[in-house]
């Protein structure tokens, strides 16, 4: 008897899983993948002391943080970021890395509409000693996460070490470097040529910057071009790191594109951004952020992670909510409640959305209509 009941529950759970929105199924699949690869779920509160964000304010995207004063008079913030809170609380050591994943809401101002938004993020963080295999593990997980959303995806890779090496090799000021890097970010070759002339760069330096700007394509082929442009150890080391990804994850749709950059105050090493075909913006963003750890006093640790912006995903995969019922049971005062309950369970067990009532609900489709009188259930014409 017990066995039969468990079976019944399992089949209903399976049916319910099938009725979830596509993005909800993707989120569940991702969480089970992270668990399989040894990552632990990290839950956190929604608030953080506002002071916590002041020192590394520019790690966060622009715009004010939502603040409030708590009952003790402390200025608190609704979390605009998860990574910083994870770094603050990490117990990782170089020989005892932490592998964490999270599903959390963060609160940021949308630059487009100048309104605050609640953004649902699923993310993965590895904190400890990052080895070449850690890069492979994280990039592999990023690919698996994108595949949970849509079969057709690409992961663009870049490397902050390569770009740092590139700019060490050209004689420009910090301000000029920022402007030139901006051109690489937006693939703006015409502006880069104008700036190179303004900076007095040699034709060879200008050509090298332009060729890096134009690198965009499948990793193995693009890496050949990146290697040919490497003029110092930093660029060569970065190319080696990218090559190990190409060697091991050669079947994945990895691309090399140096338009992906981030603030070097926080990020170093590998950077990546993921796209799926049905969503017009990047849905995944990640990279190596050892410099943030240094700034937060975690001297001997390295870190790499990524986040998936679920609000972007939800918008494009949202299916219309099911309205009405597949089956509806009308009953009256004479109905045997045990018989009614059994009838509902039977129909739900068949995977049908079932409703009950003493009258037909106004404005909702009822699907197959049944009438229960006493303990007798009879089907009616639709």
């Amino acid at each position: 008897m017990q066995h039969k009941g468990t079976q019944g529950r399992a089949s209903i759970l399976e049916l319910r899983f099938g009725s979830l929105q596509k993005c909800e199924r993707a989120a569940l699949a991702m969480r089970s993948i992270y668990e399989l690869y040894g990552y632990r779920n990290f839950r956190m509160g929604k608030f953080e002391e506002y002071d916590f964000y002041t020192e590394n304010r520019d790690f966060l995207p622009g715009g004010p943080i939502i603040t409030f004063t708590d009952l003790n008079g402390k200025l608190m913030a609704l979390k605009p970021d998860v990574t910083m809170s994870i770094v603050k609380n990490t117990r990782a050591a170089a020989d005892a890395p932490e592998r964490l994943y999270y599903t959390e809401s963060i609160y940021r101002m949308s630059q487009e509409v100048r309104e605050y938004k609640e953004i649902c993020q699923i993310g993965v963080e590895y904190i400890g000693a990052v080895t070449p295999f850690t890069n492979i593990e994280l990039v592999g997980l990023a690919c698996k996460s994108l595949a949970c959303i849509e079969e057709s995806y690409v992961l663009d890779l870049s490397h902050m070490g390569y770009l740092a090496g590139l700019f060490e090799s050209v004689p420009v000021t910090a301000e000029q470097r920022r402007a030139l890097l901006g051109c690489i970010q937006s693939k703006n070759a015409h502006e880069l040529v104008r700036l190179a002339a303004q900076c007095g760069l040699s034709p060879a330096d200008e050509e090298r910057l332009l060729r890096v700007l134009r690198i965009s394509g499948p990793l193995p082929a693009a890496l050949v071009e990146a290697r040919s442009l490497a003029v110092n150890a930093a660029m060569r080391d970065a190319a080696d790191e990218l090559a190990s990804l190409a060697d091991v994850l050669g079947d994945a749709p990895l691309r090399l594109d140096f338009s992906i950059t981030s603030d070097p105050k926080y990020y170093n090493g590998l950077m990546f951004r993921g796209f799926v075909q049905s969503v017009p913006r990047a849905v995944l963003s990640g990279g190596r952020y050892d410099h943030l750890l240094r700034r937060m006093g975690k001297e001997n640790l390295h870190a790499i992670g990524f986040a998936i912006y679920f609000d972007e995903v939800e918008r494009y995969f949202k299916q219309p909510a099911a309205a009405g019922y597949d089956a509806f049971i009308l009953y009256d005062e004479s109905a045997d409640l045990a018989a009614l309950y059994r009838a509902v369970e039977k129909l739900a067990g068949e995977g049908r959305r079932v409703g009950t009532g003493m009258t037909k609900p106004a404005g909702a489709a009822c699907g197959a209509l049944y009438r229960l009188t006493g303990s007798a259930l009879a089907g009616e014409a639709l």
């Binding site: 690409v154 937006s186 693939k187 070759a189 796209f275 969503v279 017009p280 913006r281 990047a282």
Partner: protein, 206 residues
């Protein structure tokens, strides 16, 4: 099929003529109509006619794969797109203009009328100048004439409109011209088509 967002008006017509001359033609585009979407399966192209200020929004949000937008609009809206080519069309200058003989009073807040509030704010912030923005949507030249503002920030093409309203360029902020922009997702998934378009235009406009 590649979706191209073009700005409505003279610039859009000029860009269409350029694209059409290099094989991205669409016969329906030249017919008199109020349609906003024109498709030509043979050329593999769908044109969308959009208000100039909105082209970048359509591209950033993936409704169009590529589009043509003025640099003035890109500086104002800072969309998350790739800026692939300067088409060299629609050249103008983003400038501060003021009544002829204007003398700036550095002891008071400068009143700036503009449809480019973001550009104006950034420009004056870089000069540590306090300003009050007056956001207008057209006929900006009227503002200083009627005492609504001290100066305006607007695009200047030939300067004829300014001259006719007794205004002149006071400071130049940035040059502008039409730029080919691309959605980042489309650049990944339609790279071959987009690169072919960029290379063909670059060759034709050499």
């Amino acid at each position: 099929m590649i979706n191209i967002a073009l700005p409505k008006g003279r610039l859009g017509d000029r860009v269409y003529r350029l694209f059409s001359s290099i094989g991205y033609d669409c016969a329906a585009f030249c017919e008199e109509s109020r349609r906003l979407v024109f498709e030509d399966a043979r050329s593999g192209v769908r044109y969308l006619l959009i208000k100039p200020m909105d082209v970048a929004v359509y591209v950033e949000r993936g409704a169009a794969d590529v589009g043509v937008a003025g640099r003035d609009v890109l500086l104002e809206t800072e969309p998350d797109v790739y800026e692939l080519l300067d088409l060299g069309l629609g050249k103008c200058t983003l400038a501060v203009a003021a009544p002829a003989g204007f003398s700036e009073d550095f002891g008071s807040v400068l009143r700036v009328a503009t449809k480019y509030p973001h550009v104006a704010r950034r420009y004056y912030q870089s000069r540590s100048r306090d300003i009050e923005i007056i956001k207008l949507n057209g006929s900006i030249e009227l503002a200083p004439i009627l005492g609504l503002s001290d100066v305006i920030v607007d695009i200047v093409e030939t300067g004829a409109t300014l001259r006719e309203n007794n205004l002149c360029v006071y400071e130049r902020i940035a040059p502008s011209s039409a730029r080919l922009i691309a959605n980042k997702r489309s650049y990944n998934f339609k790279q071959e088509e987009i690169t072919r378009l960029v290379n063909t235009i670059a060759e034709a406009t050499k």
